[in-house]
Symmetry: C2
Subunit: 293 residues, 2 copies
């Protein structure tokens, strides 16, 4: 592939940022890559992995002269990053991000960005339970969806360039309203993670003898939950807080449904249970058919 | 390996039963295999897969002269099976089972079995989301745990023979009190399945446009839940009802913990959230270390 951007700045370069940097290096999409991270450990890892031409801990330094800025920090850092880079961004630059919540990102970043900059919020829906630049790999995005949530009036060419970039990484790209994105992700990702974390926490609080056997005999179901619940705690803290309204709304629905199941078990209502358990197979089949399994 | 039993009867031969039959055929553990199933479709599948020397729909016919009887039906069929075979079992025969709940199995079977028969309740902790004899495979059990819950006074040689059989299938074998087994499995398997089924059901009830996008963007977390929730509904109905007390006890703990998380999200208590999310990593590490991941 050919070069898409002269200078790309990554603000935050963990699992997602470093995977995208690897794609850019592999396909020579960027003339120059500048990486910004908060901790010396991350910067050292980026250097030894040769993921950037230059590294810095200062976001303002990183974005100077960049024609693409990719914000890939934890969500709680966005407002401060926006404040730091707002005055330094090159006119005509594109600012995009990889955050898992979009309304909060727009709320935190938009007011900080000058009108001469093109802001294209994005969310590559991909990941693993590992984090940091060493955990990244170029194929992370392959055949997954990236959701862009551009605001009304955003330059179509800027949106198209971000779309092309994610397509180069192997992603299918969809466009969506930010509030709708947050609701879809609340049920497909945020609530499953919240539940997985919670049940693993419940197991963690068991009496010691029971707990050691839970680990030993974890093959049936629980194991999958522990993998989900092994993800970065700060990342998920930020997601739950940033997408509070949608997560609470979906959690409320879930709790009602769980209470109905609890009641059916308590009163031995076999027919109710079987009916509820049977209908979930259809949605699994849809996912397998949609090649997302 | 050499022959362990002259005649083995399978009462029920789905995913688990047929996988064990495949092990027995591969390693020539049984002189003769008789398979009993309720539906002609299952019996036809067993015949065409050559999983048994004889097939029948009558449990009494199947167990005649067998020195090992493996009960592998849904849990709700155990009492009727016990009633049907009790008078026909060969003196000295071993009766074992593969049920996921052990107290209910003992309650339903034990009173039906003559004292000259050795009863060794067992639970190979292995499975997939698929069911039926075509879904089985001999390696299903490899490196997984089998839990035996023999009653006090059971013939040690009979227990040893069942243990050897599961070891031939590649399993590690543990012995446990039935009530303790039911509690461990409630948290490692039954509750995770109940939760997975419930959240997939919650998604299924969403408005149509949202639902279609949930399927499309299911990559992050939800996908794993749909796989878990694609398991056999009758199997799980029976498990939840048979292990009611332990499932309700663990569900109560989980609900308390989930409510605490909900409250922390609602009131923006970032420190509480991060602390809870961080401590689950340790239990994941224990599982990886125990080679159950």
């Amino acid at each position: 592939m050919s070069q898409q951007f002269e200078r790309v700045a990554f603000i935050g370069i963990g699992l997602i940022g470093s995977s995208l940097a690897r794609v850019m290096i592999r396909d020579k999409l960027a003339g120059e890559i500048v990486a910004c991270a908060r901790t010396p450990a991350t910067l050292d890892a980026v250097k030894s992995l040769k993921l950037a031409d230059r590294v810095t801990h200062d976001p303002a330094e990183a974005v100077k002269g960049a024609d693409l800025v990719v914000i890939a920090t934890h969500l709680s850092a966005y407002a401060a990053v926006g404040k730091r880079i707002g005055d330094v961004l090159k006119p005509g630059a594109i600012v995009t991000d990889v955050g898992s919540v979009k309304q909060a990102v727009i709320r935190d970043l938009k007011p900080q960005l000058p009108s001469a900059v093109h802001f294209v919020p994005g969310h590559p829906v991909a990941g693993t339970e590992f984090s940091g630049p060493t955990a990244g790999f170029a194929d992370l995005f392959r055949d997954r969806w990236c959701i862009l949530t551009p605001l009304a009036g955003t330059d179509a060419k800027a949106i198209a360039r971000v779309k092309t970039m994610w397509e180069s990484a192997g992603m299918k790209v969809a466009t969506m309203d930010p509030a709708h994105h947050d609701m879809v992700l609340a049920i497909t990702s945020h609530l499953p993670h919240l539940i997985a974390y919670t049940i693993v926490g419940t197991a963690n609080d068991l009496e010691d003898t029971l707990k050691s056997e839970v680990i030993k005999f974890s093959a049936g179901g629980f194991r999958d939950f522990t993998r989900i619940a092994a993800s970065d705690p700060v990342f998920w803290r930020d997601v739950f807080l940033a997408n509070r309204e949608a997560v609470l709304a979906m959690l409320q629905r879930f709790t009602e449904d769980l209470t109905a199941m609890q009641r059916a078990i308590r009163y031995g209502e076999g027919e109710t249970l079987e009916r509820v358990l049977a209908r979930t197979r259809a949605i699994r089949k849809s996912i397998v058919d949609a090649k997302q399994a």
